[in-house]
Symmetry: C2
């Protein structure tokens, strides 16, 4: 009996309850319900090496219902990962390895940060896509280097979220046969019965999306059914599988089957009762019998052997396919880039929209970056995200590196997080209109928090969109992105800056970057250069090294300011500062900042976006105070004052305003 | 022949093409494909009075695929709404009534602003919910005051979007039998064939969500099938209906069936060819034969009669049910509120979380506001959004005013936009964690752009969330919201301010408001009052009317600053300014602003959120520069410096820093 699956499961259940009780905070309902599935998967099927959590051919495991974090931590501990019993006792405490929701930067073995519902399902879809892609690109006869499953747990909340529905639809379309999703169908959400808000026939719905579906009518104790379902799911290789597991939330506790057990610790008394019910020694906490520990550590020990064999195979592969071997290694390291492969421009070069210049960069980079893979949310011809050497990733061309994500912005971003989490060298890029990055902000936040290295191509970046009107013209988006820690917001002014922005986006390997690009053509500037972007902001034009006024602008407004400066320069010493990336400028030292915005010169910000935030650098701003308008782009720009006449007039007024008084020193901020 | 449906449809098609050609910008593909459905619906079924587009018992029509705006404008014109042929010729021009995508504030008869895909489907769900709700609340035997359908058009893009999937799932659950959705199944999206990214079996999928499904295999010319489908859909009153219409994008044009025709004008030559193909006079543009116009205007004429009869019925109803009549009228006017019904507090009152105080406000308001209706995205006990007198809105209790939206934040917000659009007096409120407002930002933007009067209850508003950690702790959200034009961002510091924030949210009838609320308890302040919120910011404590330093804070950091000020006051003259709403403060006159932030006093901002944006008011900030941490709330707060010790220390440093030099005048901004 002691070695039965039920017994192991019950030990796991009680360990989770003790972890949560110790913290006096956490979510016991899900671990009590999903422990049987976890036990079967982690002791019989999951392939991993606890001593090398980054082994590329490991199975991926995603806890999309991340509030069940205690279950994941208990599993990682029991399976032999670098997570001690003391770590479990530090659950939800400052600087512990066991934060409230799983965070991939804090804990070895946590594949992705989860908690915000739905994200994990999309992450798992991204991982399964990468598995298919790398399998096709690298495996050779006799060398199954990439060959593993992606498993994910999820609950009702995850499935209700649109981001998950988008990813599910794409996964079915792409026939990701090695993706296996376990749905914790416990009939309960925080508000109470799922009957309050949810009537989807989940198997029928996922079947309509091209998924293979399995239902386990009773999952609390039926280990055989779980085992059988996993094997069935593994066998179906042409469709992703969902295993709908009917479980009891808070199983065997006094609160079993109720919403109350979702997010409140059971407390010591109920824990004692639970242990009695489950036949465990109620006097003990954090109790793991050696035999149970041995059971849970078996797969890890096997995994160490498996990786050894894999490494031996990889050595032979390296001898046989040295080029491919090198590329596969490259995919596992943070990328580097030689700036010289990026295009450079001179003022005589043609005017171009930065979205076109962006495409030139993508085409330039692609042959040098094995990890570059991406696409667009159905705006390929508008976002200019197609890359010549990339085939379309599809069921029949698994080695393709261009992805048609469909009209699914949130899903796209969350899928890209999962793709990026697959290996350090993978850099997904994804296009949409800048205005619709807002649809995916929940995922972008996860990119930033988890240091996912993504490039978001956000075209049609202002009222310069023109006739499509305010529903399609971002005005608030730049500041939204600038407010998010660890998101780099780029807005290049011309070709050289576009190249520089791509370079910076690639060398900042721990941040997602959003590159904001125009629909409309812009001239190539005299004073720009790709390498200047590394300062975030720099002088692109000046009539004097001691300007009275600085025109500070980004993107399409930089050339406008240069034109205005040329008109003004005879009457007022003027400088134009291009600011392709505020965040990078903010990282510069005080001396450099002062050299760009010299003491005594007033600063006029000019940006076709909301003025909020410009107070950091500018004494006045020409910007947006409302949403845009539907009109031809030039008319819209003129309507809101983005003209040489208005810039020169406002600049003069600002200089006059400060003629008799000290110009406030905006850089003088002590913290 | 001349009066045939096909002929009318072809005239409509060519009118759309001419509108787009004149603008040299627009989307002909969808109007050419969906014109037959529009013709049948608008000439045979849609109930409306073109002379009173706000008649409450009209059918609602939503163009979720809003890029087909020319079709809607042509229909409104032909049906007799206040939209002239000249207006059609001003398509996509500055200040015209015919912007690129339909905007409800610009054009009579446009129910909701659409274009961002998926939103319109959710809006229609919200409208259908309000129809059910008001029908149950107001209709009496013999008085079917509210009794109409909600129709929506959508395309592949709308259906792929998560926001639509969320709304579809809820609509099926709620059995919204009077909602009829027309799906333009043309097999094409911008990237090309839908086969590139989309394999959902749409009828099976929606059937699994509880929808009634109808498929029309050929919709380009089969008017009989369309007619039959609409009648079948109308008859099914226990389930929402989707009519899947197989159409040809760009029908009859040379680009028919291709992605190219989606978003590019046909141009004069192709328009001539099209007219020839359709058997119309190719020499004419903007041509509408009188007979065709008559056909399209019939339903409007009937609608005028129908409203007359309805008004007569309403008069009788008023006599029989004066109270109900008054309430129904109230629902059609912008709300007012008597501030005295809102709770007031004194410092001796119990410490409470502002999320609890928010619930007290909701309960206080509910009996006085017929238009208040709302709920939570499955966080009812956490968001404290339950209202005692509200029953749950469900299939069996249609008169309920509490909605369990499920875990569907984006859908919830977009549905609320539709509910609000139903009548001016409706004020939907909806709860989620502040951090997950980001999931619904695409819809909140539409609220702001369209002046939807919503109240978003965003609880757990900072690192004060504690153990759940950075995945659940907003840091960037306040600035994100403050960057959005026409969104009011409230963050009350105590009970009086919470009451004041609710009051302001209700009297600002043309803006959505987000009320950001704490998880943790806060003390009742000495100097607060509900009426002070109308200034946006005000002095809540001062040791001297001539402070050397101003501590400016919001929400939970206000009481912290008061505590710090009391420690400092003997050594430094200090003032604490509470800023419950930046946007409202920014609307005040210069004199008032100067009275709050007096010249010469330095300002230290204190807010448990990203520092970005504070440069507008503060010379230094104690705020967040990163995401949060998983730890007990007090530990997290201390970790990031939100302590009396740190505030006093930093305040002193700031005063010292400016001891010898002029304090920059941050209010001195000329534009
Ligand atoms: Ca559940
Ligand atoms: Ca389509």
């Amino acid at each position: 009996l002691i070695m039965s699956e039920e017994y192991c499961t019950n030990v796991l259940r009680c360990l989770c309850v003790d972890i949560i009780n110790k913290a006096k905070s956490g979510h016991p309902g899900m671990p009590l319900g999903m422990a049987p599935i976890a036990e079967v998967l982690w002791t019989k099927y999951l392939k991993f090496n606890p001593k090398n959590p980054k082994w590329i051919n490991r199975d991926r495991f995603v806890l999309s219902n991340g509030h069940g974090s205690s279950l994941l931590y208990a599993l990682l501990h029991l399976a032999g990962f670098n997570l001690s019993m003391d770590d479990l006792k530090q659950f939800r405490q400052l600087k512990s390895k066991t934060p409230g929701h799983p965070e991939r930067l804090e804990t070895e073995g946590v594949e992705v940060t989860t908690g915000p519902l739905g994200q994990g399902i999309a992450n798992a879809v991204g991982m399964a896509m990468m598995e298919e892609n790398l399998r096709a690109r690298f495996n050779q006869p006799g060398f199954p280097l990439i060959d593993h499953f992606t498993y994910a747990f999820c609950g009702d909340g995850c499935l209700m979220e649109g981001v998950a529905q988008e990813a599910i639809s794409l996964a079915g379309h792409l026939k990701l046969g090695k993706l296996i999703l376990f749905y914790d169908d416990n009939g309960i959400t925080i508000d109470g019965s799922t009957k309050l808000a949810y009537s989807d026939d989940v198997p029928a719905k996922l079947s309509a999306c091209g998924w293979h579906t399995i239902v386990i009518p009773e999952c609390d104790t039926d280990f055989e059914a779980i085992t059988h379902a996993i094997e069935e799911a593994q066998k179906e290789t042409r469709k992703p599988s969902i295993i709908c597991c009917r479980t009891t939330i808070g199983y065997a506790s006094v609160l079993a089957g109720t919403a109350k057990v979702h997010g409140t610790p059971l407390g010591p008394e109920n824990a004692v009762a639970l242990k009695k019910t489950l036949g465990l020694d109620e006097s003990k906490t954090f109790f793991v019998p050696d035999e149970v520990r041995a059971e849970f550590s078996k797969k890890g020990e096997l995994g160490m052997e498996q990786e050894k064999e894999w490494q031996a195979m990889f050595e032979k592969y390296t001898a046989a396919f040295p080029e491919l071997s090198k590329k596969l290694l490259e995919l596992q390291c943070f990328p580097t880039l030689d700036m010289s492969i990026l295009p450079r421009y001179v003022p005589a070069d043609e005017k171009k929209a930065t979205r076109q210049l962006s495409q030139t960069c993508l085409n330039a980079i692609a042959p040098h970056m094995e990890g570059l893979i991406g696409g667009s949310a159905d705006l390929t011809p508008s976002n200019n995200t197609a890359v010549k050497i990339f085939k379309t990733f599809s069921e029949t061309e698994r080695d393709g590196r261009y992805i048609h994500f469909g009209i699914r912005e949130h899903g796209m971003l969350a899928i890209c997080n999962g793709m990026q989490a697959y290996a350090d060298g993978i850099v997904p890029y994804c296009g949409t209109f800048l205005n619709f990055v807002a649809y995916g902000l929940g995922a972008l936040r996860m990119s930033a928090l988890s240091h996912h290295h993504l490039i978001i191509v956000g075209t049609h970046d202002s009222i310069g969109v023109g006739e499509d009107g305010p529903t399609h013209q971002p005005v608030e988006t730049l500041m939204t992105l600038r407010s998010m820690p660890n998101v780099l917001t780029f807005r290049p002014a011309d070709g050289n800056e576009t190249s520089g922005c791509y370079y910076q986006a690639i060398v900042h390997t721990k941040s997602p970057s959003v590159i904001c690009l125009t629909r409309q053509a812009l001239p190539q500037l005299e004073g720009s250069a790709p390498e200047k972007v590394k300062f975030g902001a720099y002088t692109v034009f000046e009539s004097s090294p001691e300007p009275k006024i600085v025109l500070a602008a980004t993107g399409s407004e930089v050339s406008l300011c240069v034109d205005a400066a040329k008109v003004m320069q005879d009457s007022i010493p003027v400088r134009v500062v291009s600011m392709p990336c505020w965040e990078i400028f903010d990282m510069q030292d005080a001396e450099y900042k002062k050299s760009v915005f010299p003491r005594g010169a007033c600063v006029l910000g000019v940006e076709a976006a909301c003025v909020a935030g410009w107070e950091r650098y500018a004494h006045a701003v020409i910007g947006m105070h409302s949403y845009g308008v539907s009109a031809p782009a030039e008319v819209a720009m003129e309507h809101f004052g983005f003209t040489v006449e208005n810039v020169t007039e406002k600049a003069k007024k600002l200089v006059e305003h400060f003629a008799e008084k000290e110009v406030p020193d905006l850089l003088d901020r002590i913290f």
